[in-house]
């Protein structure tokens, strides 16, 4: 099989569990138990993705991440028991491509690994400019002409209404739409009890494109105001 994933954690059981999880998904797994080991392996082996814990002896995850970033551009997912927003922002700003808080949902973790690898290997040319008629936001690409949404390069199957909603969102990333407006623009009729209808659709869209629909990254509720497509800082 193809991709090689380096799993770094001082907790050997966790490393083993992830190993089992990812092998089932068909990945080749390398193991390391501290930052130095990880760097050592990276210098010898070809690795396509790194899963790294933050709190480790000898060399902590974030420092190792910085060292990795000096050499390679491979995707790095940070695993941490720290679930604070600030910790997440810190990890991402240090060069991590994703941040997964412990205790993680194993399926979600696998999905994230898959997503990152797809974007890195399959798409390959992630740094190339967007083609005409394409709107890119994080791992989402929306082709306005085809009216097709791609997540990690794979087309997402959406209904006509959902496509309309995505069209609205992808064209206006970051803008907050009240439910009434979405209803008016998508259903093209006066809003009545719009909140539930819109929410239902949004939930369905989330399930189709979010890695963890319970903690959505892209389509978010702005409580008390409306809904929006979160504009991703990292446009890999």
């Amino acid at each position: 099989m193809g991709e090689r994933v380096l799993v770094v954690d001082d907790d050997r059981e966790i490393v083993k569990a992830i190993d089992i999880l990812l092998r089932k998904e068909g990945y080749d797994v390398l193991k390391a138990y501290d930052g130095l080991q990880a760097l050592d392996i990276l210098s010898r082996e070809t690795v396509h993705l790194v899963l790294i814990d933050v709190m480790m002896p000898k060399l902590d995850g974030l420092s190792a991440l910085m060292r990795i970033r000096e050499r390679a551009n491979i995707p790095v997912i940070v695993l941490s028991a720290k679930s604070e927003e600030t910790d997440k922002v810190l990890g991402l700003s240090m060069g991590a491509d994703d941040y997964v808080a412990k205790p993680y949902n194993p399926q979600e973790l696998a999905a994230r690994v898959k997503s990152q690898l797809r974007r890195f290997t399959t798409l390959g040319d992630i740094h190339a400019g967007t083609r005409t008629g394409e709107i890119k936001n994080g791992r989402l690409i929306y082709n306005t002409q085809e009216r097709v949404l791609y997540a990690d390069g794979e087309p997402v199957r959406l209904t006509a209404t959902e496509t309309k909603i995505i069209d609205l969102f992808m064209r206006n990333p970051g803008r907050v739409f009240p439910a009434e407006e979405i209803y008016r623009r998508v259903w093209e009729e006066d809003a009545y009890a719009s909140e539930n209808t819109v929410m239902v659709h949004i939930r369905r869209i989330r399930e189709k494109l979010e890695l963890n629909p319970k903690e959505p990254e892209y389509i978010k509720v702005v409580w008390g105001i409306g809904y929006k497509m979160e504009k991703q800082e990292k446009n890999h």
Binding site: I14, A17, I18, L21, E85, Y104, P106, A179, M199, I225
Partner: protein, 923 residues
């Protein structure tokens, strides 16, 4: 004993100093002012002569008399002061001349009354100088004839009845007639006086004799000088017989004419003359030479025989000063009394007691007086020197005394001292003023101006100044000296001479120096002094009105009153100003204190006054972030920071009246800050503990979840094992939720929960939450009834947190409601307050008095369901973190939760950050 003596010594030495300086100054000033005995410096040698006969003026007197006597003897013309005209009745003006005594009064000394009258008349006549002498003569002539006509008329009118009145009138007329005649005579004498000199006729022998006789008459009574004048062996005049008999011949010499026929009248030889008792000076002139005997010894008159300017005696007999033939026949003998007496003749027939020449007497007396006054001055100076010397010798104890005086001085108000000085100078000014105006009758500036203008130079101004200075009494100089001495003493020993003064005292009342006194006393003092100043002011003003009204009061009094009024006005205004300043300051302080109290009440214990009070600044680094959690209430860090920024630190500098209050308040604040700080610390430790624990739980939990997942995917496991795995899966997930919730709630409780405040629609948030949880609600066996207005209810909160609040509430409602019952969700707003309520009927009996928001508390104590037990607790913490108000109540089985927020309409114009959390009340 010793100290007593020392004190006495000090007093004595100082008194000596005082006396010495005062006397010195006084006598020096006196000497400078009016010379002792009016002796000029050039007269000193004369004054210092042993007796009056040593004086040059005595010699001049004797020389003059000799000359006069020789004139009388030889019948010459030009007897001093006596010259006349044809008829010999008038004797020209000789008044005031050749007068040797200084205390005399002009001519009255040796001129007879008659002569005096004539002279006065002559003066009167000369006063009428506007008409010519001829006119006057004609006028007098007509008056004379008119009077004669009257007299004739009276003779003719022989009326018996009016004989008395007639006789009186006649007598009066006759007097007038006499006077008229006299006037005519003086006019006749006067007129030739105006004629050219060659018209003056020489005196006849008879006239000369008459003049000589008159002269003899005028001086013979002064028996201080005895004389005999002889010519050609015959005694002509004399008031003493120098024939050797020694008898007093005053009686027989009474009449001048009789002296001529005196058989005994001759002068014995110089050697034979015996001076009468009391006489010690003898002058003998034999026609050629003068011989003088004094105190029995002959005086060398001629020296080397030549007369020079500096020769003592200006008498004939020198080789270059010989007598002529006529004079050689004359002989004069004079004797002078050693101790002259005053001779007065009671010649009442001539109209009163008559004083003779008495020049010698006055000469003697004056000399004695002058000598005496010089002696006195010298003695005085000597005493002064002795005293000064003595005070110099005991200067140590004198200095000690000065110190003592300085100590006393330090107790006197400075204003008194200044007033005394001012009074002194005011006195001086008045003195000068009176001097100038008395002397010249103008103001002082006019005087100075005219003095300069008329006399063309400054010398006269200086002269005026000199006079001025001389007019100042010595007492002033003494006072001035002692004033200056006291000033110097004060300055030398008392470092701060202003310390003891009314002004400083007043200022002190308003200044910070009375810090240790309680506020009430300070205020009392201040108000009292203010009142006193006002009272004084009022009194003075009233007095001034009265004084200005009374015009009889002098200019000076008014000037003083005006000055005092001005001073008092300044003083009063100063006091008033200070008081106002202090009051304003105090008002500010009160404001600052009340602000501070408000801050402390609001829980802001920042070290704002730290610098001002010089207190070591507490390391309060995170005032804003942790200050809101007093009594468990959640605070909003940013809002606190805002609050802190908004309140300007009011520095209460030292010197404020409310300083003690401020200090006490600071103490309270300090104590509270400390308590809060400690509470914070323990709170933070709790949070840290929870964070660490949750982290430590998370790591094994991760493994559990991971392996449960692996197990779940394992194929070929028996069914019952799969059931076990399912249970493991559920419980591990619940554990995960719990850990997350515990962490969140503990963070919120410690106020470290970050919130992002934004404006949002409360109603929409509720609808969104319901929509989001629709599946869950559908899955439960309760129905939701909503009453949410369509119109936006805008509040300021963190949407994400508020969503969690209602998520928890709705979850609880789903979980703990009686199956089949309804949950009522409603949002009400009264414009300023938006209240969302969730009401549900509990499936379990609600225990009364149980706090459901307490952590890990659930409706049932069994804890068998999937909740963490933190739902309500999180809801409350998050609500309060967002600035809302969370409350709940139970009514039988009805459980009601209310979440209240201030609407943005309720507080318009406020930015969202300020719309925050201080209102969060603690349930």
């Amino acid at each position: 004993m010793d100290t007593k003596w020392k004190n006495r010594k000090r007093i004595i030495s100082f008194l000596v100093f005082l006396l010495g300086v005062s006397l010195t100054l006084g006598s020096l000033a006196d000497i400078l002012r009016k010379k002792p005995g009016n002796v000029n410096v050039w007269e000193l040698d004369r004054v210092l002569a042993r007796d009056y006969q040593e004086e040059a003026r005595f010699r001049a007197y004797v020389e003059d008399r000799l000359q006069d006597f020789l004139i009388m003897a030889t019948g010459g013309e030009g007897l001093w002061g006596f010259w006349g005209y044809e008829d010999g009745t008038y004797y020209g003006d000789g008044y005031g001349y050749r007068f040797h005594g200084e205390y005399g009064y002009g001519y009255s000394e040796f001129l007879t009354e008659a002569l005096q009258e004539e002279i006065v008349e002559q003066q009167d006549a000369s006063l009428t100088g506007t008409i010519s002498g001829e006119e006057l003569a004609n006028y007098l002539e007509s008056l004379k004839s008119m009077q004669e006509g009257y007299l004739e008329l009276l003779d003719v009118m022989d009326n018996e009845e009016d004989s008395k009145a007639r006789e009186a009138f006649r007598a009066e007329l006759e007097i007038y007639q006499d006077e008229m005649r006299n006037l005519m005579e003086s006019l006749e004498n006067y007129l030739p006086n105006r004629l050219p000199g060659e018209q003056i006729k020489p005196l006849t022998d008879e006239q000369k004799q008459k003049i000589a006789a008159k002269y003899h008459d005028s001086i013979k009574g002064d028996r201080n000088l005895l004389y005999t004048i002889a010519y050609d062996g015959k005694v002509l005049y004399g008031n003493y017989d120098f024939s050797g008999t020694g008898s007093d011949s005053g009686k027989e010499q009474d009449s001048a004419s009789a002296g001529q026929s005196d058989s005994a009248g001759r002068i014995s030889a110089f050697e034979d003359i015996v001076l009468p008792e009391g006489y010690n000076f003898l002058l003998y002139f034999d026609g050629e030479k003068v011989r003088i005997q004094k105190d029995g010894r002959e005086v060398d008159v001629y020296g080397d025989g030549y007369f020079r300017e500096d020769s003592d005696w200006y008498v004939p007999g020198y080789a270059n000063f010989q007598t002529d033939g006529t004079t050689k026949k004359a002989a004069v003998c004079m004797a002078v009394a050693a101790d002259p007496v005053l001779y007065t003749e009671g010649s009442y027939g001539k109209g009163g007691a008559l004083q003779y020449d008495n020049s010698l007497y006055w000469m003697n007396v004056n000399l004695k007086i002058k000598q005496q006054s010089i002696h006195q001055s010298l003695i005085c100076l000597a005493i002064c020197l002795v005293l000064l010397g003595a005070s110099f010798l005991c200067r140590k104890s004198r200095l000690e005394a000065a110190e003592g005086i300085a100590r006393f001085q330090a107790k006197i108000w400075m204003e008194c001292k200044i007033l005394l000085f001012l009074a002194l100078f005011y006195g001086l000014f008045m003195l000068c003023l009176s001097f100038v105006t008395n002397n010249y009758g103008y103001g002082i500036w006019e005087e100075l101006f005219y003095a300069y203008d008329y006399n063309l130079n400054y010398v006269s101004a200086a002269g005026l100044g000199g006079q001025l200075i001389r007019s100042i009494p010595p007492a002033f100089w003494i006072l001035l000296f002692w004033g200056l001495w006291l000033l110097k003493n004060d300055l030398r020993h008392n470092k701060k001479i202003w310390r003891k003064s009314l002004t400083v005292k007043l200022l002190d009342t308003f200044s910070a120096k009375t810090l240790d006194q309680p506020l009430s006393r300070k205020m009392t003092r201040r108000n009292r002094s203010l009142f006193l100043a006002g009272l004084l002011y009022a009194i003075l003003m009233l007095e001034q009105v009265v004084l200005v009204d009374n015009l009889w009061k002098g200019e000076h009094v008014r000037a003083i009153v005006c000055l005092l009024a001005a001073l008092e006005t300044v003083l009063f205004l100063t006091v008033l100003y200070r008081a106002v300043v202090k009051n304003v300051q105090m008002a500010r302080d009160v404001e600052a204190i009340s602000d501070r109290i408000a801050q402390i009440r609001d829980g802001d214990y920042g070290e704002e006054y730290g610098d001002g009070l010089g207190r070591a600044s507490e390391p309060s680094t995170e005032t804003g972030s942790y200050s809101g959690t007093l009594d468990g209430s959640t605070g909003d860090g940013t809002a606190w920071a805002e609050h802190e920024r908004g309140s300007e630190p009011q520095k209460a500098g030292s010197g404020h009246d409310l300083q003690p209050v401020m200090d006490q308040l600071e103490d309270i604040r300090h104590g509270m800050a400390k308590a809060v700080d400690e509470q914070m610390k323990s709170q933070r430790m709790k949070v840290e503990l929870i964070a660490n624990v949750s982290h430590d739980i998370k790591t094994p939990l991760t493994s559990i979840i991971s392996y449960v997942e692996i197990l779940k995917q394992e194929d070929g496991l028996p069914e019952y094992v799969k059931d076990y795995i399912k249970i493991l899966d559920e419980k591990s997930k619940r554990l995960k939720n719990m850990v997350t919730d515990v962490f969140a709630v503990s963070k919120a409780a410690s106020g470290e929960l970050p919130v992002q405040m934004e404006e949002l629609d409360f109603g929409k948030l509720l609808r969104q939450t319901l929509a989001d949880m629709e599946e869950q609600i559908q899955g439960s066996n309760v129905t939701f009834r909503t009453q949410i207005p369509e119109t936006p209810v805008m509040i300021s909160a963190d949407g994400q947190r508020l969503y969690r609040v209602f998520q928890n509430l709705f979850q609880n409602a789903c979980k703990y409601s009686l199956p089949g019952s309804r949950v009522y969700v409603a949002l009400h707003t009264d414009g300023s307050l938006a209240v969302a309520s969730v009401k549900n009927t509990s499936s379990q009996e609600l225990e009364k008095g149980r706090d459901f928001t307490e952590r890990f508390v659930r409706g049932d104590a069994s804890r068998t369901d999937g909740g963490s037990g933190l739902g309500l607790s999180i809801a409350q913490s998050f609500t309060e973190a967002c600035g809302g108000e969370f409350s709940w109540e139970t009514d039988a089985d009805l459980f009601i939760v209310r979440v209240a927020f201030q609407t943005l309409q309720g507080k318009p114009g406020l930015a969202k950050a300020e719309a925050a959390p201080t209102e969060a009340a603690n349930p």
